[in-house]
Amino acid sequence: MTQSPTLSRRPASSTSPLPRKPRRRGADARAGYTFLLPWLLGFIALTVGPMISSLYLSFTNYNLFEPPKWIGLDNYTTLFQDERFLQSVGVTVGYVVFGTPLKLAAALAVAMLLNSKRRGQGFYRSAFYAPSLIGASVSIAIVWKAMFGDAGPVDQGLSFFGINLGGWVGNPAMTMPMFILLTVWQFGAPMVIFLAGLKQIPGELYEAASMDGAGPVRKFFNITWPMLSPVIFFNLLMETIHAFQIFASAYIISNGEGGPAGSTLFYTLYLYLRGFSDFRMGYASAMAWLLVVVVGIITLIFFRTSKSWVHYSGDSK
C-alpha cells in the first residue's frame, strides 16, 4: 500500500501542461536507437560476439585449423606453470608500476608549466602533445630502436659524459628503462587533460593562499592536488589500463620475439606469439580473459580507494 501514492501520481502528470510527453519519449527513444544502430550492430558483431567465442575458446585446445577441443580449465591451470607466462607478467607489471606514475608526473609537471600565460604557449602545447599522437606508431618504434641502438645518438651522447652503457636495445638490463622512457615521452594525452583540469581551478584560491603566506609547495598540495584529484584519478586509471596493453613498440623493437633474454616479453606480446606463432589460440584466449579480469580488479581497487583521496566539487569533505 505504500506504493499507491507513487502510482497515483501518474495520471496526475498526464494532466500537466505536457500531456504528450510519454509518447514523445518513446519516439525519441526509437530515434535514438535508430541512430545508435550502426554502432550497436558493430558492438555486438565485433566486440560482444568475439568476446563470447573467445571465452569459449579459452576452455578449449584450439590450433586455428581444427575444431576446438574442450579441455575445461586446463589452459588456466597450465598458465601458472609456464615460466614464460610468469616472465611476461613480471615484465608487464614492472612496466605498469614504474612507467605509469612517471608518465603522469611528467604530464602534470609540464601541464603546470604550460598553464601560465607566456609567449609561444600554443607552440609548446602542440610540441609536447605531438609525441603522443605518433607515439604508438610503428615508425616511432623503429626510430626509437635506432636511437638506443649500438652507436646510436643516446649511446654517443652518454659517452660524451663518460657514461658507457653501450646499446640499450641488446642489453636485457636496459630495455625496460628504454620502454619506460618511451612511454614517459608520450605524456601528451594526459597532459592535455591535466591542462583542462588546471584551468578549472579558480584563481581566487591561489590568491587567497598567497595572502595567507602559502608557498608554491603548500599551494600544490593544498589546492592543486585536491582540486585536480578527479582528473588525476581519471588519468591514472586510463594510463594504467593503457600500459597493460603495450604491444606495437615491443613487437617492433624486439623483432617480435620479446628478447633480449625475454626482457621485453610483454603480456600481450606473449599472448600474440602463443596464438599466432604457436597456434595455441585457446591458450591465448585464456590469457586474454585473465588480463580482462585482472584489469577489472585493478580498476575496482582504484575506485574503492579513490574515495579517500579524490574530491569532487560538492562533496561534503
Binding site: 567465442s53 610503428v138 636485457p172 620475439e257 596464438g275 589460440m281 591465448a284 586474454a288 580473459w289
Partner: protein, 429 residues
C-alpha cells in the same frame, strides 16, 4: 603490420576474432576456374625474403604473365618471422593466398591439417627432379609442396677478413675442436675487432647435423624426440668455453644488429648456415667474395650433410584457381628463364631443366660447386619434421640465446627446451 596490430587490439580486449572470421571466410565457388586473355584470373602469391628476392620475384612474375596472358599474379612479401604469423591468421580465416613460398618446418602444420592442396591432383611436371628430393614435400602419400631448389649446410668465411690477421683459409676438413680453435684465433688475433663467428650451437639444423654425425635421429617416425637431454647438453657444451670470448659474438651485439646477421654486418669472420644465403650476405656486407667449406665433424667420413629443399611451392587447399596455381608453380620450379633470374638466391635449382638452363658464374658458381663437392657425403633429406616444428626451432634459438646471455645454465637450458618440446608434442598428439 597494421593487420597484425589490428588483430592484437582485438585480442587484447578479450576477443578472438579468428573464430568470427572463420565463420564468414568460407568462400563458395566452383573449383578450378579458368581465365582468358580478355578476362584473366588473378591469383595471389606470397613469399618471404629481402629486397633482393623481391626484385627477382617480380621479374619472374612479369615473365609468367607475359607467357600466360590469362593469369595475373598478385605478389606480396614479408620477412620470415612475420610471414608465419600472417599465414596463421589467414588460415584461421580461411583465406590463405592461392600460391605460397613455403618452408619445410611448417609443411606438416598446414599439410596435415588440410590447409594445403594435394599437388598430385593437378598438373605439375616433376620429371626433372631428383627422386630422393621429392619425398620431403610429401606427407602420407600426398604431395603438398614442390621444392624450388636445394640447399645444404656450410661454413661461410670472408677471405679478405682472414688475410690481414695472418690466418690461413680453412679447407673444411676440420673437427669441432679445430673449428673452435679457428674461431678463437680470429677473436684473439683481431684484438676484439672481429669475432670468430656466431654461436653455432644455437642453430637447430647444425644440431640436427651433429646428431646425424653421431647416428642419432632428431625425431622418431612416431613423431617423438629421438635424442636425449644429455645429447642436447653435450651439444651446448661444445662451445661452453668459447662463450664470452672473442671466438663468439656476444648475444647483445647479435640483438643490436638484427634483423641483419652478424656475418652480413661484418662483425664476424664466419657463419654456419645454409649455402643459399650467399646473395644476401654479399649484398649486406659488401664483401667482394665469400667462400664456403663443409661443416666440422669428428668423423671425417660422416659429415651428416643433406640437401634440403630450401623452399617449396605450395597452393592453398581452398584456392578457386587450381589450374592457374598449378601452372604458376610449374613455371616457378621448371622454367629455365626463372632459374636465370634467381640463380642460387633460392638455393641451387631443384629441377634439372632449370639447372641446365641457368649459367652459374662468380659467387653463384661457388654455391653450385660447393653442393657438388659434398655430393659424396650427402644422405637422404629428412622428411617433413613433426607438427609444430616451427615453434620448436624458434624456442631452440631463443633458449640458446638466453644461454649466451648467461640467463640460463646449460642444464637449465636443456631442461627448458625439453619441457617446451614435450609439452608441444603432447599438445599436437
Amino acid at each position: 603490420m597494421i593487420n597484425r596490430r589490428h588483430f592484437l587490439t582485438t585480442v587484447a580486449v578479450g576477443t578472438a576474432s579468428a573464430a568470427a572470421l572463420s565463420a564468414c571466410g568460407s568462400g563458395s565457388g566452383s573449383s578450378g576456374q579458368t581465365g582468358s586473355a580478355a578476362q584473366p584470373v588473378t591469383i595471389n602469391y606470397t613469399w618471404w625474403g629481402n629486397d633482393d628476392r623481391a626484385t627477382r620475384t617480380r621479374k619472374a612474375i612479369e615473365l609468367f604473365e607475359s607467357k600466360n596472358p590469362d593469369i595475373k599474379v598478385n605478389g606480396n612479401f614479408t620477412d620470415f618471422a612475420g610471414y608465419w604469423q600472417k599465414r596463421a591468421t589467414e588460415a584461421a580465416g580461411g583465406g590463405l593466398p592461392d600460391v605460397m613460398q613455403w618452408d619445410l618446418s611448417y609443411l606438416r602444420d598446414y599439410g596435415q591439417r588440410n590447409q594445403l592442396l594435394d599437388l598430385s591432383t593437378v598438373k605439375i611436371d616433376t620429371s626433372a627432379f631428383e627422386k630422393s628430393l621429392l619425398p620431403s614435400g610429401q606427407i602420407k602419400g600426398k604431395t603438398y609442396g614442390i621444392p624450388t631448389s636445394t640447399n645444404a649446410f656450410a661454413v661461410y668465411y670472408d677471405p679478405a677478413k682472414l688475410a690481414p690477421l695472418g690466418i690461413a683459409e680453412p679447407d673444411g676438413s676440420w673437427t669441432y675442436k679445430e673449428f673452435n680453435d679457428f674461431l678463437s684465433q680470429v677473436g684473439a688475433k683481431s684484438n676484439g675487432a672481429l669475432y670468430g663467428g656466431t654461436d653455432y650451437t644455437g642453430v637447430w639444423w647444425m644440431f640436427n647435423i651433429w646428431l646425424r654425425q653421431n647416428k642419432i635421429e632428431a625425431f622418431t617416425s612416431e613423431g617423438k624426440l629421438g635424442f636425449s637431454k644429455d645429447d642436447l647438453k653435450k651439444w651446448w657444451n661444445l662451445t661452453a668455453e668459447l662463450r664470452g670470448t672473442g671466438a663468439i659474438i656476444p648475444e647483445d651485439r647479435v640483438t643490436q644488429l638484427a634483423p641483419k646477421s652478424p656475418f652480413g654486418s661484418n662483425a664476424t669472420a664466419t657463419e654456419v648456415t645454409w649455402d643459399n644465403f650467399m646473395a644476401g650476405y654479399l649484398g649486406d656486407s659488401g664483401a667482394k667474395e665469400l667462400k664456403l667449406v663443409p661443416v666440422p665433424s669428428d668423423d671425417p667420413n660422416n659429415l651428416g650433410l643433406f640437401l634440403k629443399p630450401s623452399m617449396l611451392m605450395v597452393a592453398s587447399a581452398k584456392t578457386k584457381f587450381k589450374d592457374a596455381a598449378a601452372r604458376f608453380i610449374d613455371f616457378m620450379v621448371n622454367d629455365p628463364e626463372v632459374g636465370q633470374i634467381f640463380k642460387t638466391s633460392r638455393g641451387v635449382p631443384a629441377s634439372k631443366t632449370q639447372r641446365d638452363g641457368t649459367t652459374f658464374e662468380g659467387t653463384d658458381k661457388l654455391v653450385v660447386d660447393y653442393e657438388k663437392s659434398i655430393e659424396k657425403y650427402l644422405k637422404d633429406a629428412p622428411e617433413p619434421p613433426i607438427v609444430g616444428f616451427g615453434t620448436l626451432e624458434a624456442s631452440f634459438k631463443r633458449i640458446a640465446s638466453d644461454l649466451n646471455y648467461g640467463k640460463l645454465t646449460i642444464d637449465g637450458a636443456a631442461d627448458a627446451w625439453f619441457k617446451e618440446a614435450e609439452d608441444l608434442i603432447k599438445q599436437n598428439a
